[in-house]
Symmetry: C2
Subunit: 215 residues, 2 copies
């Protein structure tokens, strides 16, 4: 497969989400023009992006929704049905365990871990929270690929090292710091406050206000 | 103030987060080269971005961390200390209420609301969850600017309309659907699964695999 540029890859989740909705609504085909209205990407950019996968819509037909949806899902790794564990089972860990979006996208939550005795043994979606000391044996048994990190910023680097040694391939990091990827592991750092800051910027009146960075 | 392009604005939260860390570590000044190593943006792009605010680093000195931090914070609306309410007080609502990042950035959580009797009356950070029926009176009294939406995808559009009428200026939407902004309101739609899909893509071996979109 032709190597797909980073910018195109970044647009794929958005395409995928919209195609999921269309599929659920029973829509069978869609043109690049209709896609562009919804996705805020020009029709020609969409056609260019999809050309990267070696396929073309058909003139007068557009794209077949189910096939496009599956092709993009493949590229996003969703057909791999990766096994996911959550490290840190506080409020955010619980919220992520309940986040319906993941099961729908093919991710299987297979374990949850914490260091706090207070949460060990509590259950979510049939999964019992285990103590961190059980992590090694669990990983050797189950071989999960993805770990969601919702631990303190101090604990995160050490836990990430440990996860890398246990064979985890990808870390989804919510731990308030920019985690550097251990060798052989891909890390996505999530900074929830970034979009909140964007929101605050957009609702703040700026006209006529001067901002000067003093030298 | 010169109008700042969208692309520059999108980089500001990252700059802000790193400058916060530097400030906490007591670092007083930093060069664009040092910033670029950490932020994965070229030194020249950084200088260009910061020039948009009408300020320049000083040759041989670089930028003053505290001043740069404050200037960017202003642009991001963080010195406005916006009042925030959370609509939908389930796991995700609770997790967001506890997310330390917000208070640190100057946002004040002033109210939480839900339709479920089971959570009404429960308390987080001194805030008692109120029933949705109390929302109107609350907004007339407190005039919050930002609402965090963690309700079902079906309920979201209606709740958004209501919030717009009650004077909310910005909606931070976690409700699994692309909310269209009511007039006069800015919406940031959060799709947590997007970065998870990026992660899955990066850990999926693709070499030699052909993907073809059938016509």
């Amino acid at each position: 497969m032709k190597k797909i540029s980073k910018m195109v890859i970044r647009r794929l989740p958005r395409y995928y989400r919209y195609l999921s909705d269309l599929r659920n609504e029973g829509v069978e085909r869609i043109s690049s023009t209709e896609l562009s209205k919804r996705l805020k990407v020009t029709a020609s950019q969409i056609r260019q992006d999809l050309n990267c996968f070696g396929g073309f819509g058909q003139q007068g037909y557009g794209y077949n929704v189910a096939q496009l949806h599956e092709a993009i899902g493949d590229i996003l790794g969703l057909s791999m049905h990766y096994k996911m564990i959550i490290i840190g089972s506080g409020n955010l860990g619980h919220a992520l365990a309940n986040y319906a979006g993941f099961a729908r996208r093919g991710f299987q939550l297979v374990g949850m871990f914490d260091i706090s005795e207070a949460v060990v043994g509590t259950e979510i979606h049939g999964i019992s929270v285990q103590h961190m000391s059980a992590l090694e044996a669990f990983c050797q048994e189950e071989a999960p690929e993805i770990a969601v990190l919702t631990v303190t910023k101090l604990a995160a680097p050490e836990v990430a090292e440990k996860l890398a040694k246990l064979g985890i391939k990808g870390i989804w990091n919510f731990s308030f710091m920019e985690l550097v990827a251990p060798p052989g592991v891909h890390v996505e750092n999530v900074h929830l406050s970034d979009s909140l800051m964007m929101l605050a910027h957009h609702i703040t009146p700026h006209s006529g206000k001067k901002s000067k960075i003093k030298e």
